[in-house]
């Protein structure tokens, strides 16, 4: 069972993806309008350009249609960070990561590829939560693109039937982009699964359509971050191809699983140009104090 799948299932259980209700839409429009007017009056003011841009992007992003949000429990279950988390250490780590990436990508939008050194190193976990961290900021939106064609992370056949994804779009001429972008129930968070079709992956990524898709996705909103969840660079040829299409690359190094030589090989495969940095993942932690306390309680936690 994939992680997001549960969330999707939940949403589909409520019926088709719904747009915001009439009251909700009105509120959002009001929110959107106010910054717009501020932007108009302060147009001549050079110093407030960034602020204006930020406000406009926020307004635009606020108009995004959202589904019923999934609960904190579901997010915790799926290992997705959320602001109300009890243990803030992971949340803070991703916020810090997000800030550093924003500092590096100057124009706001960016295609960030997240890859690992070896299988099972948590690259998908990092990609997913990095997207979630971007989505936490109301002025930004994140889109998670699953490029694990051989080993889909967020796709799969569920009871609701096949969900269209990346390969379907690239394969078929008559599937619009909108059809493959799914809303997993987290505000400002979108995702594209890898798709049902899965034949010769390399050919999908080399296609012109793939490049165009990335540009289209990136430029759809002023501050959109497209996060590509890819297989380990040393394990898959797809990753190297995708690396050419993205702006930045993040390398996930898991705790106690890989050697220096493996990391060096991965860095060599990526090249220094696009490599933003390394995320040291899954460092063991001692349990929170509450866990220690709950040991002595008679009731099960």
């Amino acid at each position: 069972m994939s992680k997001i799948e549960d969330a999707l299932k939940k949403i589909s259980g409520n019926g088709a993806a719904r747009g915001p209700g009439p009251a909700e839409t009105a509120r959002r429009q009001q929110l959107a309008r106010a910054p717009q007017s501020i932007a108009q009056t302060a147009q001549s003011n050079q110093a407030s350009t960034d602020m204006t841009q930020r406000a406009s992007s926020r307004a635009e992003i606020a108009r995004m249609e959202e589904v019923t949000p999934i609960g904190d429990k579901a997010m915790a279950h799926n290992k997705i960070i959320h602001p109300e988390m009890e243990d803030g250490r992971v949340l803070n780590a991703f916020r810090e990561l997000r800030t550093k990436i924003i500092q590096k990508s100057l124009n706001g939008n960016g295609v960030i590829m997240v890859t690992g050194v070896t299988l099972g190193d948590g690259a998908s976990f990092v990609a997913r939560n990095l997207a979630a961290a971007f989505a936490l900021d109301t002025s930004k939106t994140a889109l998670l693109l699953d490029c694990n064609l051989k080993n889909p992370q967020y796709d799969g056949i569920n009871s609701a039937g096949a969900r269209l994804g990346l390969t379907d779009y690239l394969e078929s001429e008559d599937i619009p982009v909108d059809k493959i972008i799914h809303r997993p129930g987290i505000d400002r968070f979108r995702m594209i699964p890898s798709g049902v079709q899965c034949e010769v992956p390399a050919e999908y990524f080399t296609s012109v359509k793939m490049g165009k898709l990335l540009v289209q996705l990136k430029e759809r909103y002023p501050e959109r971050y497209v996060i590509l969840d890819t297989p380990p660079i040393t394990e898959s040829a797809d990753t190297s191809i995708v690396a050419d299409l993205c702006d930045h690359i993040l390398l996930v190094v898991p705790y106690g699983k890989v050697t220096e030589t493996q990391v060096e090989a991965a860095v060599k495969a990526i090249g220094q140009r696009k490599l933003v940095g390394v995320v040291f993942n899954n460092e063991p932690q001692l349990p929170k104090p509450s866990v220690w306390k709950s040991i002595w309680k008679l009731t099960p936690p």
Partner: protein, 514 residues
């Protein structure tokens, strides 16, 4: 990679938490092993005796320089050599606890090498203290053996020391006797030589030289004197030949005239002051008249005697005094010349004999020097040895009287009441400590030797990559439930472990378990 201690401990704890089941498992296993080992550990009783090696005693300063106190360089080593000797060990085997009739030497060796020597410890506590320890499962045997070993050690050491002094004395004594004999021989040789060569006295050569010198001087002097006397004789002889033997004396008339002249002078002097009637002038005139009368009488007598052989009257003749004097002098000089000649001959004879003697002395001097040298060397050595022999005698007597380096039992062996070695509680505590340290040590070793990356600092420092974030492990609620459950289980196990340990310790303390 250099990590600070807090970093290292933090990493270790995290790793220990990840491998908590293995860590607790090892902890429990070590505790169990320690418990079993503690229960099965054989009881050992140790008895010890301390021996003080006293070398600072009252005798030493008194005898300083006269006697040599036997030195013991490495006390523990010496003690080991003495104690582990077959002789001493053989005696130990006859002590209570070991005695058994009919043992072959091979069996005895086996007991000594397996039961006694490995359990005996000889420790040099400080310069003057030797501690002897013996451990055995039987406290009585431990006590008896320790006591026996310490007693034997002391008696053996003292005997060895006494023997050493005795040997030294004997050796020096032999040497002294040998030199005495040599000295006597040298003396005899010297005596014989001196008897044979009477001139060969110390300083003879010098004496002879002096004597020759004085003789030569004497000869010279005599020769000079002789020459002088001969010259004198010659001169006297010459003078004698030109001198008359007798001289003719003046006549009586002459004597009268001389007297008249004297009186006339007196008369003239008086006439200057007095008249011719002054009685003195009158008397002098009378005297002059008398004298003139005597002259006339004498002239008359001479005229009467003329024409007769001229005989010199005795009164007129007198022997010449100068001639006499010269004759006497000449005679004396002749005697002197004779004496000097005789003396010269004598001196020459003496010189000759002295020269011959000097030659003899010179020859014997070399032989004498050699004999004397031998004698002196032997005498010095003999005297020195004689002194040493007396020192050795005193040293030997000191050792016989146990006054030199002494061995005393400072702390006698006691019957051990408590077993020595690690107690049961030590095993339990050791088990707990090792149970904590060993798994942590293993984890640390794993961190050190496992090449897989565990520290972000390696990525940053060694691989020169920027670490954007360190993402801790995210625990899902279900995982958390599992963690709590596992921690509960482990806590229960540890609690049970301590419960068992406490129970066994309690039973042991209460004497239920032996």
């Amino acid at each position: 990679m250099q990590l600070s201690y807090p970093q290292m401990i933090d990493a270790l704890l995290k790793e220990a938490f990840v491998h908590r089941k293995a860590v607790v498992g090892i902890f429990l296993a070590i505790n169990a092993i320690a418990l079993i080992a503690g229960l099965a550990w054989p009881k050992q009783y140790t008895s010890s005796a301390t021996i003080i090696v006293d070398e600072k005693n009252i005798i030493e300063p008194l005898m300083k320089g006269a006697a040599v106190v036997t030195e013991v360089a490495d006390r523990a080593k010496l003690a080991k050599e003495v104690i582990y000797s077959r002789k001493l060990m053989g005696q130990v085997l006859t002590s209570p606890g070991w005695e058994k009739a009919g043992r072959t030497p091979k069996e005895e060796d086996a007991i000594i090498n397996k039961a006694i020597i490995p359990n005996t410890k000889i420790i040099s506590i400080d310069k003057n203290l030797i501690k002897i320890e013996y451990s055995n499962a039987n406290p009585d045997r431990a006590y008896n053996t320790t006591k026996k070993i310490s007693d034997l050690f002391i008696s053996e050491s003292l005997a060895a020391k006494a023997k050493e002094s005795q040997d030294a004395y004997d050796f020096i004594s032999t040497q002294t006797d040998e030199y005495h004999e040599k000295l006597v021989n040298a003396e005899a040789l010297l005596k014989d030589f001196r008897s044979a060569n009477l001139d060969a006295q110390p300083g003879s050569e010098g004496a002879v030289g002096t004597r020759i010198n004085s003789l030569e001087e004497k000869i010279q002097q005599t020769t000079n004197d002789l020459n002088e006397a001969e010259t004198k004789q010659e001169s006297l002889t010459k003078q004698l030949s030109g001198e008359a033997e007798v001289t003719v004396a003046f006549t009586r008339e002459g004597q009268y005239r001389t007297r008249i002249a004297e009186l006339q002078q007196q008369l003239d002097t008086l006439r200057l002051s007095y008249q011719d009637t002054y009685p003195d002038i009158v008397r002098i005139k009378h005297q002059i008249e008398d004298l003139n009368e005597a002259i006339n009488k004498d002239r008359t007598e001479r005229q009467a005697g003329r024409g007769q052989a001229r005989v010199l009257s005795e009164e007129a003749l007198a022997i010449n005094p100068l001639f006499q004097e010269l004759r006497r002098e000449l005679s004396q000089t002749k005697t002197q010349i004779d004496t000097l000649k005789a003396r010269l001959v004598d001196a020459r004879r003496l010189l000759h004999s002295e020269t011959a003697r000097g030659r003899r002395v010179h020859d014997s001097e070399a032989a004498l020097a050699e004999l004397t040298r031998d004698y002196q060397v032997n005498r010095d050595l003999y005297q020195d040895l004689l002194k040493r022999r007396e020192n050795a005698r005193v040293s030997m007597n000191m050792d016989i009287a146990n006054q030199g380096l002494t061995f005393k039992i400072h702390e006698p062996a006691t019957l051990p009441s408590d077993p020595s070695g690690p107690r049961f509680i030590h095993f339990i505590l050791g088990g707990i400590v090792l149970g904590v340290l060993i798994p942590l040590g293993l984890l640390h070793a794993k961190q050190q030797f496992d090449p897989r990356l565990r520290f972000d600092s390696v990525i940053a420092d060694k691989l020169k990559l920027q670490v954007l974030a360190i993402v801790p492990h995210l625990v899902t609620p279900s995982e958390e439930r599992e963690v709590v459950a596992s921690l509960r289980g482990l806590a229960l196990l540890i609690g049970a472990n301590f419960g068992i340990l406490a129970l066994v310790v309690g039973l042991k303390a209460g004497g239920v378990l032996s």
